[in-house]
Symmetry: C2
Subunit: 436 residues, 2 copies
Amino acid sequence: MVPRLMTAFSGPLLEIERRFLDAMPEIERWLRGQWQEHTPPFYGSVDLRNAGFKLAPVDMNLFPGGFNNLDATFLPLCVQAAMAAIDRICPDARRLLLIPEKHTRNLFYLQNVAQLAAILRLTGLDVRLGSWSPEIDRPTPVALPDGSSLLLEPLLRSRSRLGLEGFDPCAILLNNDLSAGIPPILQNLDGQFVLPPLHAGWALRRKSNHFAAYDEVAGDFARLVGIDPWRINPYFSVCSSVNFHERQGEDCLAANVDAVLGLIREKYQQYGIEETPYVVVKADAGTYGMGVMTVKDAAQVTGLNRRQRNKMSVIKEGLAVSQVIIQEGVHSYERVGSGSDEGVAEPVVYMIDRFVVGGFYRVHSGRGKDENLNAPGMHFEPLAFETSCSLPDHCQNPDAAPNRFYVYGVVARLAQLAASLELERTAPIEEQVACA
Amino acid sequence: MVPRLMTAFSGPLLEIERRFLDAMPEIERWLRGQWQEHTPPFYGSVDLRNAGFKLAPVDMNLFPGGFNNLDATFLPLCVQAAMAAIDRICPDARRLLLIPEKHTRNLFYLQNVAQLAAILRLTGLDVRLGSWSPEIDRPTPVALPDGSSLLLEPLLRSRSRLGLEGFDPCAILLNNDLSAGIPPILQNLDGQFVLPPLHAGWALRRKSNHFAAYDEVAGDFARLVGIDPWRINPYFSVCSSVNFHERQGEDCLAANVDAVLGLIREKYQQYGIEETPYVVVKADAGTYGMGVMTVKDAAQVTGLNRRQRNKMSVIKEGLAVSQVIIQEGVHSYERVGSGSDEGVAEPVVYMIDRFVVGGFYRVHSGRGKDENLNAPGMHFEPLAFETSCSLPDHCQNPDAAPNRFYVYGVVARLAQLAASLELERTAPIEEQVACA
C-alpha cells in the first residue's frame, strides 16, 4: 500500500517527478561523480516531507534506528550495500564492535540493533555489541519479542584500543548518537575505524551545518535538472545564545521566525499556494523530536508559557538547548486510511554508503499535516515501502509507486551527500587511522 | 521450491556446507582481500553441479544469458551491483553500447538482453543496442513476448571509436561471446571501455586456462576452510592437436580420459563412493554445449562413428575443434518433481562484479544425472532460486535453502575470482584505456 497524496497542488510535484525521471541518466551520473569526490557516511536515514508542491528532507540521521521496519525482501540489498561499504572502508576488517544507544529497555530500538547486527554479520563480519551503560557490567542477554536475544557486553578500553573481553575489533560502528557527549572511552583511539566519525554525534554536530551543506547540494542539483531549488529545499535560519528558561534570545527568535515566514509567503504567492506558512523551531543539536515547536506567527515564540519553555529547554539526555534552527515547515500531504483511521504518512529513507536500501512511512493517526511526527513517546505505525527505490518505470505515471520511491531515493541521496560535505567540513584536524 | 538432493552421500556435502557456514567470516574476509588484488569481470554466470559428496563449477560464462530467468525480487540487487561496478570501472560513463549475440530470432535470448538493458538503464546509463549482423542494416525493432520491443541498431565505426548513429558511448558491454572471432569493427578502439575485454571471448579464451586458475583458487580456499580441494574442484586435462574428422589425436584423448578416470576412481575409493566415474570431453574454446561428450571408458573416444565425430568436430559458428578439455564429470544429484515428471536440476549462479545477484536451476526432465543439460536445442525449464545467496542462516540446517544457496554463491565467487586471474594472465600487453 502506498499513501495517497491529498493535495490540490500535485501539479508541481508531478512536474518534479517527471523532471527527475527524464533526467535520470544525468542525475545518476552526477551522483556517481559526487561520490568520487566525497565519501558517504557509513549509513543514514532521512526524514522527508511531501507537500505535493514541494518534497524536502527535514532531518538527516547519521545513527539510524528503524532498520527493523524495512521490508524483509530488501535485506539482501542491505547486505550487498554493507559489503560495498566495508570493501571501501576497511576490507581487511574481521571483527566489528557495534555500540547501540543506552536505553536497553526499548524493544523497538533493540530490534533495530538486532537487524543491523544481522546485516553486518551477513557481510561476514564477526559482530559483537558493546555498551558503556553502567547497567551492563557483565555480558547481558536481552530477550527480543521474536524469541531471539541480543548479548550486550561491557566495553573494555586498553591504552589506545576499544573492545570487549577477548574481542579486539578493527572497526567500531556507532548506533549511539552521542547526545550525552563523547565519552572518554571513545576518545584518542588508535588504529581503529570509528564509523561514523565522532564529530557526527550530537555532542558536536549541528543541524544548521547539515542544512548549509544541503543548500549547496540542492542548488547544484536543481541547476542540473532545471527546477527551483526551493522545491526540494526548506528555508532555514539559526539563533544562537537562546535560553528558553531565562527568556533570553526571544527577539532573535521572533525576528528569524518572521524572516523565514516572509520568505515562505513569497514562494507561496509566486506559485499560488494557498496554505498557511509555518516554521519548525528546534534544537540545533539534538534528535528524537524533543525541543521541537511548530510556529505560524512570531508572536508565538515571545509569549511562551512556563510549560512550553520547559519543553523547549531540554533535549535528549537532559541537555540544555542554546542554539536553535528555524526551519521552513513542509506540509505532509501523504495520508493513509480513511475516516477516523486516516493518518499522516511521513517517508523515511534508509541508506548504506551510496546506496538507498529501503524505506518506510511513519504513519500517525489523528495528527495534523503540519505537526511533528517524531515527537517523544509518539506512537507511529511503520509502513514498509513496497518496492525498491531503484526501479523507476518510465512506462508508468510519474507518481506511480516505483517512480515516487525513486524520487524519494534521489532526494535522500542529496541529503546523504550533504552529510558527506558537512562531515568533511566539521572534521577535526587529525590523522586518518589505518586498519590495523 | 528447492530441488531435493537425491543421494546417499549427503554426509560429506552437509559437512562442506557446515564448514562454509562456520568459516563464513574468514571466507568473506578472504574474498574481500582477493578483490583488492584482482578485478572481477563485469559479469558472469557459473554452472554448478551438486553431487552430494562434491559441489563444483563445470563452466564459467563471461557473457551470461538468462538474466530474465532470475526472480524479479532480485532486480534491485542487480541494479545495485551494476551501480557498484560502474562506479569502479567508469564512473563518468553516460552512454553504454550493449552488443548482443547475432541470433536475433531467439526470443528467450532476447528477453535476457531486454532484462540486461533494463538493469543497466536503472543504473542511470543511456543504453542502446548495436549489432554487426548484416540483417541489421537499419534501426530494427524486435517485438518481445511481453509486448515490449527491443531496438537493434547497426554499429557505426569511426577511426578509433565504435558507436551508433548519434550515439558515442564511453563503455561497450559485450553479451556476444565472440565465438566467430573478434570482428575488425571491435579492434583497435581508443578511449572506450570494452567489457569484458576482448580476450574474454571464445575467439581467444580457453576453458583450460580458466580451470588452471580455478585449481589455484580452489586450493587456497580449501586450505582456508580445511577441506579437500577435490570437494569443490573437478579434475581436468587437455589434448591439443585433436581433429575428430581425421581421427587425429585419439591416442592422446584416450590416454587422458584414462588418466582422469583413474584419478576420480582413487577419490571415489578414498571416500567410499560407489558411483561410476565419468569424464566430459568438450571443446576447449566454445560454449553452448556443442562439441560435448560424456565418456566412461577410454575405448569410447577411439571408436567414435562418423555421426559422433561430426558432432564433436564443430562448435558454435561452425568453428572446428582442435583442442579439447577432459573434465571430471560431476553427478547432478539435485532433482525436482516425481515419477515421470522428475527432472535433474543444475544450478546456475549469476554475478555482477563481486556480487552474487541471483540464480536459477536448469531443470530437464528425462535426462540422466551424468548428462549435459546445456546441449544445443535442449529444452530446460528455469526454476528461480527462491531466496538470495547472501542470507545464510546458522539457525537452520546446513542444507536448508538459504544455506545451500549461500554455499552455491561462495563456489560461484571462487569461479568468478578464477576468471579474474585467467583474464589477467591472458591479457595482451597493451595500454589501459581511459574513460573519454
